[in-house]
């Protein structure tokens, strides 16, 4: 029987009141409290599967899945949308709907990541390292099956840990303050060493650039706008969604455009629906067979979920790093190893359980999504915190079962989505690229209603493309970018609160030791590998100038230019930082000094390597995989034009004209085909964004002028 609670309702008689207790042991032994929790489990489960709640759970989960599939729209958005429907709902149904919509977003995002090589949500960026590679090998179904199953298992793990923590939830949340967060974030940063072990120099440069990018924006300690270079809108910093979309999605589109041909490369034939289905079940089996990996990566996700402000994107990368580090077959990572899909997908869903902890324990949200959940609960007349733990523990279990069942529903529906979506990957790039670029810029704008974000996504697209071509790890950059701010902020607070010896406190000290041991282990293993002279992989570069380079010489000139441009920017930032107060400039200096040094070193290495090659009469012609420079130029021009069109004419006219012209003029498609495709895609985006999701896209300067805006 579904129970209903209003804000003022008394706790029902069936529920035993649970006394708050201090001693952890006592909590578990306290029979009355245990009984209360057991009854909460039963009541929570029965409510979740009751006919009054289950339909909302299904609707919410499917909605979340669809939001996840659309690039740029993330869990935060799914929840914000769902909140508007809560006013007329009962508490149980409302929670199932709201949390269900949030729980399945990473699943949907994983589908997009594997199928199209673009992240559906930021936390799926790590899945891109191996997912699309599996698709290209013809293991599309296996990758998807394994990803969705790992999501389900990870979410279940996180939810179960949350349930087990209930007696000590408050204590667990309070364990993590600024000192602990600094060390944990630093520990996560050291995973760059694992991710980029094949090419440490370039990975370190990428990670440092990421850290530096995190410094952009207002430093609220001194109210200094750092590195905004006059762009007022940059004061809020670069947002995660457009950066991820640019680095991975737009970059992928540029590459695809430059080499033409369908998205799914290397896939000899289109698999039949039945074959994909068979592969999916195989993927499910693989995920279960790798249960120990799933468990460890889920634990990483849940732990990182407990830390306020970290979010799920770094958790997924750390899990990927861990999967790679612990694997026997490290070399195949990045080339379609299923463990590289299982790890991040398990972690990014396990985050949910951890993230709920502080929200439930104290009503203190650890992320923007949790803040929306909290408002949603307010609307439903529920209040989290000790009161809920003590009197409405069944509500907590509704949340827990919603996460588990929601992911189950997401997995089932996701499998149905795969087949129709996988047909799309065989469309040729001349049509596919303009369409996806239109979707990507729509997602980039919608996440925060900012025109700047479209520009950020496009610029980072170029950066991401160059990084991919030149073998700079985009994962390392992203880890640096996500964690840079967390490290700086919490380090500042830890120093202010506990002084320079905060590391000496028991918990931070323990964590710091783990970080040191971990780092030492990696340095040693990398050194050992190098002296053993590992066979060259595609990720490999010469360790010393004496070895023949695996690197095609055509890249060296590009890379020198890339480093020169980057170096000029960093130097400008370096000079700029002298104007800031010490508190605001010290972290940037700590980042930029080694960065400049490493870039110089790298440039010198390339020069000496390419000279050695020239001496050895190496062919200087471009390789077959290299893109057509003219085509890339046109693509960049069309992207710039797209931004101008959107800014001047508005979002939908902009993407319509862009889509039509790039298909008809640049890709030489037939007039009718170009017109039909561009019109129908624009119409579909209009229906989805404006009508279904009610997001107002940019009006364009012309229309704003006609409407009577004072300035733009």
């Amino acid at each position: 029987m579904p129970l209903q609670y209003g804000a003022n309702s008394e706790s029902p008689a069936s529920q035993l009141p649970i006394e708050p207790c201090e001693e952890i042991l006592e909590c578990f032994l306290d029979g009355k409290r245990l009984m209360g929790i057991l009854e909460g489990i039963a009541s929570g489960f029965l409510q979740t599967v009751s006919l009054a709640v289950l339909p909302y759970l299904v609707i919410g989960s499917v909605f979340g899945l669809v939001v996840g599939v659309i690039p740029g729209l993330s869990g935060h958005f799914a929840m914000a949308m769902a909140v508007t429907f809560l006013y007329s709902m009962e508490p149980g149904s409302g929670i199932a709907f709201l949390l269900g919509a949030h729980a399945t977003v990473s699943q949907g995002g994983g589908i997009t990541a594997i199928l199209f090589g673009i992240p559906g949500a930021p936390q799926n960026a790590a899945t891109l390292l191996d997912g699309p590679a599996m698709r290209d090998k013809g293991d599309l179904g296996t990758a998807l099956g394994a990803a969705m199953t790992s999501c389900l298992l990870g979410a279940t793990f996180g939810a179960v840990v949350l349930a087990l923590l209930i007696p000590v939830l408050q204590e667990a949340v309070l364990l993590f303050g600024p000192p602990e967060i600094v060390i944990l974030a630093f520990l996560s940063l050291t995973f760059v060493a694992v991710l980029g072990r094949e090419d440490m120099m370039r990975s370190l440069i990428a990670a440092l650039v990421g850290l530096l990018l995190a410094m952009v924006g207002l430093d609220n300690v001194t109210n200094t706008e750092r590195f905004t270079f006059g762009f007022e809108r940059l004061a809020d910093g670069l947002s995660l969604v457009p950066v991820v979309l640019g680095l991975f999605a737009v970059a992928e589109m540029i590459e695809l455009w430059s080499i033409s041909g369908p998205l799914a490369r290397g896939q000899a034939k289109i698999e039949s629906g039945r074959q994909v289905q068979k592969q999916i079940f195989n993927g499910v089996r693989v995920a279960f067979r790798k249960w120990w990996l799933v468990l460890r990566c889920s634990a990483i996700g849940t732990l990182m979920g407990l830390i306020p402000g970290l979010g799920s994107a770094p958790a997924a990368f750390v899990a990927y790093g861990h999967a790679k580090q612990s694997s026997k077959d490290k070399e195949s990572f990045g080339k379609g190893n299923v463990e590289g899909v299982i790890g991040p997908e398990a972690a990014n869903d396990a985050v949910e359980g951890g993230a709920l902890a502080s929200t439930i324990a104290f009503g203190i949200p650890g992320s923007s999504s949790m803040a929306i959940l909290l408002s949603g609960l307010f609307i439903l007349g529920l209040e989290t915190g000790p009161q809920m733990l003590n009197q409405h523990v069944d509500i907590v279990f509704i949340m827990i079962f919603t996460i588990i069942l929601g992911n189950l529903i997401g997995t089932v529906f996701g499998m149905f989505l795969v087949n129709p979506l996988s047909r799309v990957t065989t469309v040729r790039s001349s049509m596919f690229v303009p369409v996806l670029i239109a979707i990507i810029v729509s997602g980039a704008y919608a996440s925060d209603g900012s025109l700047l974000d479209i520009a950020v996504a496009l610029v980072f697209g170029v950066v991401g493309y160059l990084m991919k071509r030149l073998n700079y790890s985009r994962a390392a950059l992203l880890i640096g970018f996500v964690l840079g701010f967390v490290v700086e902020k919490n380090l500042y607070l830890a120093l202010m609160l506990d002084g320079p010896f905060f590391v000496a406190e028991p918990l931070p000290f323990g964590l710091a030791m783990i970080a040191v041991v971990f780092l030492a282990y990696n340095v040693v293993s990398i050194y050992r590998n190098r002296s053993r002279s590992m066979p060259a992989t595609s990720n490999d570069v010469p360790g010393s100038s004496g070895r023949t380079s695996a690197e095609p010489p055509r890249n060296s000139a590009t890379e020198v230019w890339f480093l020169a441009c980057l170096g000029a920017l960093v130097l400008a930032a370096f000079m700029e930082a002298f104007r800031y107060e010490m508190v605001s400039s010290r972290t940037p200096f700590v980042i930029m000094t080694p960065l400049l040094f490493l870039m110089l070193l790298q440039a010198w290495r390339i020069r000496s390597a390419s000279r050695a090659e020239r001496a050895g009469d190496m062919p200087v012609a471009g390789s077959a995989t290299g893109g057509d420079a003219g085509k890339i130029g046109l693509m960049l021009f069309s992207m710039a034009a797209l931004f101008v069109l959107i800014a001047v004419l508005g979002h939908f006219p902009g993407i319509l004209i862009y889509g039509f012209l790039s298909m008809y003029l640049l890709a030489r498609e037939k007039l009718v085909v170009s017109a039909i495709v561009s019109i129908s895609v624009t119409a579909a985006l209009f229906v989805v964004f404006e009508l279904a999701f009610n997001i107002e896209m940019y009006d364009g300067l012309v229309f704003r002028y006609l409407q009577g805006y004072r300035d733009f």
Binding site: G6, A7, H76, M79, A80, V83, T84, Y87, V173, L174, G177, P178, L218, N220, V221, T222, N223, E232, R233, A235, D236, P308, G309, S358, F362, G363, I364, P365, G366, S368, S369, A371, I372, S375, F378, I379, G381, E383, G385, P386, Q387, D448, G449, S450, Y492, L493, M496, L497, F652, F686, E690, E696, D699, F703, L706, Q707, G708, Y709, R710, D711
Partner: protein
């Protein structure tokens, strides 16, 4: 053409074309009847309601709670648009710049806008006194809270100066920061102010962990911790306190009988006036008078709708309506503070106090 365009709701190509067709048709048939009265103007239109923060905060919650009622009394659809950035300044500026056709309104962080204007902060591209005010949803009641871990029971233990208290705050020049600096200045407190926390959830966690002793927060946020016995309110700023604040001294009690009481009271009054600005609902300057009056009337009716009052109470959201005339008066009184006080506040906001 310009006139009829002003009446359009937003840019979506299809509606745009449809509306132009209708406008042309109505021109042909009705002979250009533009002098509609305000009610029929709003009928079937949609009002863009800008919230200058992301979903999931107080401003967003108030707006979503109120939207159906504004819709009910205007006959227009209310579309909530979240436009976060620059601590609420981006969305507020967007309202200020919007066309004055009465179809764009929004909720703004009143005291922050006033403070930024006083301190001449970059990005304050608006004139607080020029907005068209529909009224006010609620005020900010500021209270000083201490965490259970601090061991502090009441304000006297803070004021006697035996121990340096550690106070937490968000950004430099933010609400909690200015509150702490101004009150410490007035009371001569021995405090260590640690600012730079990301947001109020982070500060509340620090209070619970005992990392900091005290924090200036809003009553609504503080009360939650109070009911869970994690926080204690030790000081408030109200002259006529709510029942929740009974037996808790106010800032005025704290200065009673001290030297320079009058001078201190003047500063406290100015500080208090900032929070009275609260959360106003505004439109851009220059909305036609009949439409402004219609909106103000609809807002008043929405705010006093018994159903809304009940919803707000159930959600624990305090509402305190003020009319547009009262708001203009409040704003005027804040802006007209004397030179010395204004400089004091400006230096507090810039972190120079």
């Amino acid at each position: 053409m310009r006139l009829s365009l002003q009446g359009l709701t937003r840019v979506n190509a299809l509606r745009w074309i449809a509306a132009s067709l209708v406008a042309i048709a109505s021109l042909l048939i009705g002979g250009g009847v533009f002098a509609q009265d305000a009610r029929s103007f709003y009928e079937g239109k949609s009002i863009k309601w800008i919230v200058p923060y992301k979903p999931g905060g107080g401003y967003d919650e108030y707006s979503r709670m109120l939207a159906p009622f504004v819709s009910k009394y205007t006959g227009a659809r209310v579309d909530i648009v979240n436009m976060s950035g620059s601590g609420g300044m981006r969305g507020s500026t967007e309202i200020f710049k919007a066309p004055a056709d009465g179809l764009t309104v929004g909720i703004v962080p009143g005291s922050a806008l006033v403070m930024n204007e006083i301190a001449e902060q970059k990005g304050a591209a608006y004139k607080i006194a020029e907005f068209t005010y529909l009224g006010r949803i609620s005020t900010e009641q500021r209270v000083l809270v201490v965490g259970a871990e601090s061991g502090i029971k009441n304000f006297e233990e803070i004021a006697d100066g035996n121990k340096t208290i550690v106070v937490g705050a968000g950004g430099l020049g933010g609400n909690a920061y200015v509150d702490a600096v101004i009150t410490a200045h007035v009371f001569g407190l021995d405090q260590k102010l640690i600012h730079g926390f990301n947001n109020s959830p982070d500060i509340r966690l620090a209070l619970l962990r005992g990392d900091i002793d005290a924090w200036w927060g809003s009553l609504a946020e503080a009360l939650k911790g109070v009911s869970d016995k994690e926080l204690t309110i030790v000081l408030h700023a109200e002259k006529n306190p709510d029942p929740e604040l009974e037996n808790i001294p106010s800032v005025y009690d704290a200065i009673a009988g001290s030297e320079d009481e009058a001078a201190k009271e003047k500063v406290l009054d100015a500080w208090k006036a900032l929070s009275v600005v609260g959360r106003p609902v505004v439109g851009p300057p220059g909305i036609p008078e009949d439409r402004a009056a219609f909106l103000q009337d609809a807002f008043r009716k929405a705010m006093s709708d018994p159903e809304l009052v009940e919803t707000a109470e159930a959600a624990g959201r305090q509402i305190s309506y003020a009319s547009s005339d009262e708001m203009i008066e409040i704003i005027r009184s804040v802006i007209d503070m004397d030179q010395q006080t204004q400089e004091l506040f400006a230096s507090a906001i810039r972190g120079e106090l």
